[in-house]
Amino acid sequence: MENNTIIVDHIEVALEGERNLLEVIRKVNIELPTFCYQPELSIYGACRMCIVEVEQNGRKGLMPACSTPPVPGMVITTNTAQIRKLRKITVELMLANHNMECTTCSRGDDCKLRQVANDLGIEKVRYRNIVQPAEIDDSSAAVVRDSSKCIKCGNCVRVCREIQSVGVLDFAYRGSDTVITVGFGHGLGESACIGCGQCLKVCPVGALTPNFQIDPVWAAISDETKVTTAAIAPAVRVAVGEAFGFQPGEVLNGKIATALRMLGFDRVYDTVFAADETILEEGTEFLGRVTGGGVLPQFTSCCPGWVKFVEQFYPEFIPNLSSCKSPQQMLGSTVKDVLVTKEGLKRENIVNVSIMPCTGKKMEAKRPEFAVDGNPDVDYVITSTELIRMIKQAGINFAALEPSEFDMPFGEGTGAGVIFGASGGVMEAALRFAANTLGYEPKCEQLRGEDGIRSADVTFGDITVRAAVVSGLANARQLMEDIKAGKAQYDIVEVMACPGGCVNGGGQPLHEHHLDTVARRTKGLFENDVTLAHSSEENKQLVAMFEEHFGKIGGHKSHELLHTTYVDRSKNI
């Protein structure tokens, strides 16, 4: 073959290393409907929607585009009468084993199945509906599964196994009785599920959704005896706008603050404040371990999925986890402590609501160590997706809102805190703090990048810090095995369960091509960073609070409020 090209629907396309025909076909602006294809996962080839006609060496046949490697000289036709008919029948078959109560499905308008069925003009399913009654598994605080909506594309099974190396989901039974289930039919909440919610990001239908907490939040807002606070995580500000016509990565904390006040929250805070608080504590802890001969490497503990992963699979590394609470939990305990002490409010009358990009944070807030006499530090956690829904429920025209400021003292944040939302951000913020503390230039961009595992030696004078940044728990598992085998040595390691960090959390708005969206959200955070104070100790409200309220960084009071302990959960898996 002299030409490295193929023909797709009469258009000649040059091959540039595409892995499969689907990538080539998308290059000529043809969007074949797919349910089981996810570029970051292994090829599955089960939904049969991307079947195309391939002519090669004089032979013609139907091939799935996702699993067929392009070969120069192929002639591809994506849209024949036979293919149209086949696609229609395939979708009809899925619908015949699907709970079609679409109007009350929490997936709403962005259900891929509904969209494709509509595009194909399916007005009637000619086959008998054989769906089994809904078995709803809401045992997990993070994710709810509704088997009656599952189309068995297997995306959740593969993302859990391949990206997160957790593997709590798999297929069981055969034929039309095939289901996706947790081992032994247990609920997700009793399983090794770490709550990351990556499964629901790849679910094309409403079978996997965040465990919605909108109703209790409305109830708290309406309860006049309660002071209801809201706090938004860094990654939320670059994603919520996507539901209202903004581009991924546009920083909209001002509009979000206004919307939260309009929804009825009494105080509107910024979790970035607590990110800075985390850096002061965790950075100090790290310097203490380095100078005091403590256990190294120190692992970050911001990500609840990662923390549970260590507790389950690597309990021998629990001493390596930073004892610092995550920013969400630091803010929760700080807010309640300060409001009680300074304003004389009763703890039980304060309702802290976190708005997170993360479903795992819902599980984290329910950990018993994060409560005082049964009263949780964070009362409710809602995701970006749920905030969007609340804004829509209230009829707020988000795009037109005037921006407003967060409430003080928990409304100030530095750029170092903002970049917590992206993989590598916590590490960079910690290094900025360390550099300042040790008297060096706080420019620490060595660990930025998109790879799942990144590492660098960061030098401050005669001190060299061996640092690594990891996202995706399969990558983390590899790193842990390397550390165990003595193949890698580090002093400090940041791990985020979701690939790319919190910007790609399971609570973020869903997108067809989410990898591109993640990159844009990350860019947005780093652009926001340079407009703000550079390092966490420059957060004036925070510094003042330490002076007035906590005393010393890493001192007795902060240990009581801002640090935690972990549990060996290896027997539970």
Binding site: I43, C47, L62, K85, I89, M94, N97, I130, R174, D177
Partner: protein, 626 residues
């Protein structure tokens, strides 16, 4: 270490010649189920009691009589089978209670127990010797030859029949290229169903660049009514292992796996024993045949999923994953088990390999232009002689059903040529052949042309009391139960096809049902991921092709000519036979029968639930189904 196979064979034969009698009992699964092991033990007991010395072949003792236990001899209908050598006296349907008489008459007095002999259906003569039985003489038993003639547990017995000579040659004397070329030249095609040229498959693997290579024997035979591979593994496991050694030398594999379903316990036991024996002899393991080469074989028991017979699903299963097929490409020759180049051959294919490799083999001259050699078939259904047979490609249904099978039986046991309605060939992936194909030479292309496949060799014969819609439904239920659930069209499509067939059978069908069924059948064929899914609709497509009027009779007339579809049955009382006893009325659970002793009784079809209770109760046969 040099291994002299000739010496082993000679000393084995010498030892066997010392025995006055050798009694070969069929130890195939069918005969064992009918009590052949009790017969085997009874013989030892009775012979010893008569004052003769008796030994078991495996013990290798000197004695008057030696007891051997073979694998499946194929004539399952007539089991348990007992053959007494050197003469080859062939007794069938032998029970433990017959043993006393056999020993006394045949072994002691030299007489024949006539009532246990096979009777020739045409001449009504008793047939004394195994080599004269028409069931066998009308076949070409080549791959199956040793099944039934050797003790499957004794590696020396296999060596005495020329076993492992070809493996030794392949290991010591032939290049990988020569081996592949020889197999290619023989025209051997995969016997598992797809009929892909074996030599070509091996050549792909031979040329593949891979750090490690595997050869897998696919023994996950799962078609309803098929037991060719089981019989081979039970009856001649060493032939399969020898084929694998040759294949390994041809493609450069260092490790082999036999994947055999756990529902074949005897096959598992025998193939495991065979591998241990081969290892003990130095045919497997390090330094095989003293060559310095390493090749070993492991036995993996499959949990019984039909889909694990599909090669990519089979490999997933060996890897410890759920047995689900994966898209091809990549093909196993390039990226197979654990990511390495892998060749997967069916049991029968591998057992054929030593035969085609032999110098001067005429095996490839049998058969037809596009299908050379022989094929084993599991002959079942409405036929006199059910069992395992082997014929050259190009044999006709007439030869198989009438000459070997002894003709089609009606439900009442009569044999008439007009009883023949159809055969299902190729199992759930196959189709049906009808009286119009009775003289069609059976080979891959010929059968495919008429809408069926040779498949792995299941052959179910059906008479006129068979409802073809029910047959289609049977296979559809099977494929739906066995669908791995991965791709949409197979998982959901076969379920919906099953539902539509149920509509037809249960009287709910309307004018849309057949078109919907047919459209869906072709969609599953076009759209399914793996070979099993793509072929799952074949029984429906094929019965629609040849028996559409039968389908239409069900749909439009709500009538099943074979009388098999209960919901379509119309119960009526024949007044000429009715004695007006009222028993039917009193038996009917739904009050559908009314009348009086004076006027007689009638069944209200609207109320009748077709349970058949009235018919069972009537003492005069007055209740008929129309």
């Amino acid at each position: 270490m040099s291994i002299n196979l000739e010496n082993i064979a000679a000393s084995f034969n010498e030892r066997m010649d010392q025995h006055k009698y050798r009694i070969m009992i069929c130890g195939g699964t069918g005969c064992i189920a009918n009590g052949s092991m009790e017969v085997y033990e009874k013989f030892q007991e009775v012979i010893a009691a008569k004052g003769m010395s008796v030994s078991v072949q495996l013990d290798k003792h000197e004695s008057d009589v030696v007891m051997s236990c073979s694998g499946c001899q194929g004539f399952c209908q007539r089991g348990p089978l007992v053959t007494i050598y050197p003469e080859g006296i062939f007794y069938t349907k032998v029970k433990a209670s017959d043993v006393e008489e056999i020993v006394e008459e045949t072994l002691v007095k030299g007489n024949i127990v006539e009532r246990l002999l096979v009777v020739d259906a045409e001449t009504q003569e008793h047939i004394k010797h195994v080599h004269e039985v028409p069931f066998y003489t009308r076949q070409n038993r080549i791959v199956l030859e040793n099944c039934g003639h050797i003790d499957a547990r004794d590696i020396e017995d296999y060596i005495a029949k020329g076993g492992y000579v070809q493996a030794k040659r392949a290991v010591l004397e032939m290049t990988d290229e020569e081996i592949c070329q020889k197999v290619l030249d023989s025209g051997l095609k995969g016997r598992g169903g797809a009929g892909f040229p074996t030599g070509l498959k091996w050549t792909f693997a031979r040329k593949a660049v891979s750090e490690k290579k595997y050869i897998i024997c696919n023994g996950d035979e799962g078609d309803p009514g098929a037991f060719m591979d089981r019989s081979l593994m039970e009856g001649n496991p060493h032939a399969v292992l020898e084929g694998m050694i040759i294949a390994a030398m041809g493609i450069g594999a260092s490790e082999g796996h036999v994947y055999v379903r756990t529902e074949y316990p005897l096959a598992v036991e025998r193939i495991k024993l065979a591998a241990d024996e081969a290892r003990r002899m130095g045919f497997l393991g390090d330094n095989i045949f003293g060559s310095g080469k390493h090749f070993d074989i492991f036995i993996m028991e499959g949990a019984g999923a039909f889909v694990c017979g599909e090669e990519t699903a089979l490999m997933s299963s060996i890897e410890g994953k759920r047995g689900m097929p994966n898209p091809k490409p990549p093909f196993p020759a390039n990226k197979g088990l654990f990511g390495y180049s892998t060749t997967i051959n069916n049991v029968e294919t591998l057992a054929s390999v030593p035969i085609v490799l032999a110098e001067g083999s005429t095996y490839g001259q049998l058969g037809t232009e596009n299908a050379r050699g022989t094929k084993t078939f599991a002959l079942t259904g409405n036929v006199v002689n059910t069992g395992l047979i082997e014929v050259p490609f190009g044999a006709t249904l007439r030869q198989i059903i009438d000459d070997i099978g002894g003709g089609v039986v009606d439900d009442d046991g009569t044999v008439k040529p007009s009883n023949f309605k159809a055969v299902q060939i190729g199992g759930p992936s196959g189709g049906c052949l009808t009286p119009e194909h009775i003289d069609l030479p059976l080979d891959y292309a010929g059968v495919q042309k008429v809408g069926a496949i040779i498949g792995s060799g299941g052959l179910v014969v059906m008479n006129h009391q068979t409802c073809m819609v029910q047959i289609a439904r049977f296979f559809m239920q099977f494929t739906q139960n066995e669908s791995c659930g991965k791709c949409v069209v197979c998982r959901e499509g076969t379920k919906q096809m099953l539902d539509l067939l149920d509509d037809i059978i249960e009287g709910r069908a309307d004018e849309n049902t057949i078109p919907l069924l047919e459209e869906l059948a072709y969609a599953v064929q076009d759209g399914a991921l793996c070979g099993l899914g793509k072929t799952a609709p074949n029984p429906v497509i094929s019965t629609l092709r040849y028996f559409r009027d039968e389908y239409e009779d069900h749909v439009f007339n709500k009538h099943c000519a074979a009388g098999r579809c209960k919901a379509l049955a119309n119960y009526v009382i024949n007044p000429e036979r009715c004695k007006k006893c009222s028993l039917c009325m009193r038996t009917c659970p739904n009050g559908a029968i009314s009348g009086s002793r004076e006027e007689g009784y009638r069944i209200d079809p609207a109320k009748c639930i077709k349970c058949g209770a009235c018919q069972a109760a009537c003492k005069f046969g007055a209740i008929e189904v129309k």
